[in-house]
């Protein structure tokens, strides 16, 4: 199948004073039509900068997207598109939901008028039919009494309801791709479950593709068809969700899976990853994970591993794929 979105060699850096932070450093992936790709990483891994770079939402300067980077949508490189044409893509073809609905919604406009505004920005549609469609959208995202809620201001709604409004707004123009950046992180656990289910249902009904960005492996489980794990500004492992969860190829993926608190594991000590994520201004030489990796040997400190294909359909930036005998039990 032809990918809907083709990202190749994406590099985004930020310059502050004399230091350069290489936040995203050679990221490549495909998003197929109707597919959900989960991008998982801890803070500082580059996952949010990746998402923002796709739609050129990076402030330049200090940000800079390298010229040779490619973000191809419908055969067009979005990174080279004139600003006016890019605006037509943003919100209409590819739209985004952010972590904090409170900061993304305008506090002095009713939620209905904000959704209608999105519709009218991209479509020729009368005020009246925009209002009617807004109510339909609010109903679709599970907001009770949408006829009344449409006239409410964001502060009159809970965080979960606000996030539903954000999703309604993102869906207003029936995008082909929805980028959801930590859509449930700010919400309570029971509400989190509701929003994830809503996203999965909507995706199925509308047949759109979704890029789900999160720090939580539990969130992508059961929703994502494929998962990409980011570390140090790179995708260190990528593959079908089931394969990646059952046979993690990269030691970072493996460690992350083991470190997550879960309900069914023994309650003894949690296995930890020693150390901390290095700053983007000073990535380690060779494999960026090697200082924290329990398998690392000389090759890892010297040669940066490229994405290598594993027998279980993943790709991992790890020399263990090349030399599996080096894997410690």
């Amino acid at each position: 199948m032809k990918p809907l979105l083709r990202v190749r060699g994406l590099r985004t850096s930020f310059k502050t004073g004399r230091t350069v932070a290489r936040a995203v450093d050679d990221v490549s992936f495909d998003l197929l039509p109707g597919e959900t790709l989960g991008i998982v990483g801890e803070s500082g891994s580059g996952k949010t900068v990746t998402a923002l770079s796709l739609l050129r939402l990076i402030q330049t300067p200090p940000g800079h997207i390298a010229e040779e980077s490619v973000v191809e949508y419908n055969g067009v490189n979005l990174l080279e598109l004139p600003a006016k044409e890019l605006r037509r893509v943003r919100g209409a073809e590819i739209s985004m939901v952010f972590q904090e609905p409170t900061t993304s919604l305008n506090p002095v406009l009713t939620v209905g008028s904000q959704i209608a505004e999105t519709l009218r920005a991209h479509r020729v549609i009368s005020r009246r039919s925009a209002a009617a469609r807004t109510i339909g959208l609010l109903r679709r995202v599970g907001i009770p009494e949408p006829e009344i809620r449409t006239r409410h201001y964001p502060h009159q709604m809970s965080g979960g309801m606000q996030q539903r409004v954000m999703i309604a707004m993102a869906l207003a123009c029936e995008p082909k791709i929805l980028i959801a950046d930590e859509p449930t992180t700010a919400l309570d656990v029971t509400i989190q479950a509701q929003i994830l289910e809503l996203l999965a249902d909507l995706k199925r009904q509308l047949g759109m593709a979704m890029l789900l960005i999160t720090h939580d492996l539990g969130v992508v489980a059961g929703i994502a068809d494929r998962v990409a794990v980011m570390y140090g500004g790179q995708i260190v492992e990528e593959g079908p969700t089931a394969a990646l969860f059952t046979n993690p190829a990269h030691p970072y993926t493996e460690a992350l899976l083991r470190a997550a608190p879960r309900l069914d594991a023994p309650t003894a000590r949690l296995p930890v990853i020693p150390g901390a994520v290095p700053p983007a201004t000073r990535w380690p030489t060779g494999c960026r994970f090697h200082p924290r990796c329990r398998h690392a040997w000389e090759r890892c400190t010297a040669e940066p591993p490229p994405p290598l294909a594993t027998p279980t359909e993943q790709r991992a930036r790890c020399w263990l794929v090349d030399e599996p005998v080096r894997r410690k039990p």
Binding site: D188, A242, F245, A255, P261, L270, P271, V272
Partner: protein, 330 residues
């Protein structure tokens, strides 16, 4: 438990006055509504609830950082709410609080070494070189390199800052720590490090914890018993293993179902609860959880009659009309 508990909370009520301006008539919000439990020496009680459940307010009221409206808190037999100022100061050495985000609780212009030293000098536990030695020992204890002594909070990572917060709490030699979401702001890999550190410190010093969290999975690694709170009331309290294996209250079951395990086909979708918690200012009549309750037997009684907090079996408490009737009505 046969020994006397270290902390006893009895029918604690904390109310806030709200409104009273031009736009809103004055009203009272009951953030904590008649909560009772005890924490044994060396035990870790997990207190789990979502935002607005009153868990943080409860933690602060125990420390007398917030005034309680009614009820009592006893620490080592002492009535915390009736202590005179010198006795209260002495108590503050025995009970310490660790915050979710140490960034918000550390002075940005003070080195973290000085921040850990401060309580030691305030409580006149040591001075000069002796205090320095204590700070150095505390840094070592929480796994921070001595080179961080002269660092400022912004120079540390979230995990390192939380270690500073823990060192600061430990500096006065407390017996009881209230941990308010101590790992919620941390990345998964760092979360595990801090949870292990908390377990080590507890075992090494025989500390007693009240571990407040919104996530049952996080609490599980430390808690001996778990209390679940909803809209200001406890809905269930049980030994940790029992609660995770066999939750009695539908809300506990929903919270457990909402934990998404990192595995390819997570279960539990069927238990997703509907709706959202009512505002604490306008609680529903009857059972507070009724509007969202997935229990097949819920009925008019749930809508009108507040379920009693009762002992289901020894050590196991719950407030729901539709679990087995109390073994020993009290």
């Amino acid at each position: 438990m046969t020994a006397a508990p270290l902390v006893e909370v009895e029918h604690l009520v904390v109310e806030f006055r709200s409104g009273g301006g031009l736009l809103q008539p004055a009203h009272t919000v009951r953030a904590v509504d008649g909560v009772s439990f005890s924490v044994g020496r060396g035990e870790t009680l997990g207190l789990v609830g979502e935002s607005g459940s009153g868990k943080t307010t409860l933690g602060r009221a125990i420390l007398r950082l917030l005034p309680a409206t009614a009820g009592a808190v006893r620490f080592d037999g002492m009535d915390v709410f009736r202590l005179d100022p010198p006795a209260l100061r002495a108590l503050r050495r025995q009970i310490q609080l660790v915050f979710q985000d140490p960034y918000g609780s550390l002075n940005p212009r003070m080195t973290v070494g000085a921040a850990v030293r401060e309580p030691i000098t305030v409580h006149r536990l040591a001075r000069g070189v002796e205090a320095d030695a204590r700070v150095a020992a505390l840094f070592k204890e929480v796994g921070l390199d001595a080179s961080f002594l002269s660092a400022y909070p912004h120079e540390l990572s979230g995990g390192q800052r939380q270690r500073v917060g823990i060192a600061r709490a430990l500096s006065v030699g407390p017996e009881f720590l209230v941990l308010d979401e101590p790992v919620s702001a941390l990345d998964v890999s760092v979360q595990a490090q801090v949870l292990n550190l908390l377990a080590d410190l507890r075992d090494r010093h025989g500390l007693t914890y009240l571990f407040i969290a919104h996530d049952l999975a996080v609490v599980r690694h430390l808690a001996t018993r778990v209390a679940v709170m909803y809209l200001g009331k406890l809905v269930e309290l049980a030994p940790a293993q029992t609660l995770y294996a066999d939750p009695l209250h539908p809300y506990t079951a929903s919270l457990l179902a909402a934990v998404r395990a990192p595995e390819p086909t997570p279960k539990g979708k069927s238990m997703v609860v509907v709706g959202e918690a009512a505002a604490a200012a306008r609680p529903p009549r009857g059972c507070l959880f009724e509007p969202r309750c997935p229990h097949p037997r819920k009925d008019d009684r749930c809508r009108t009659e507040t379920p009693a907090w009762h002992k289901v079996e020894p050590g196991r408490w719950a407030a729901c009309h539709y679990i087995e009737e109390p073994l020993r009505p009290e």
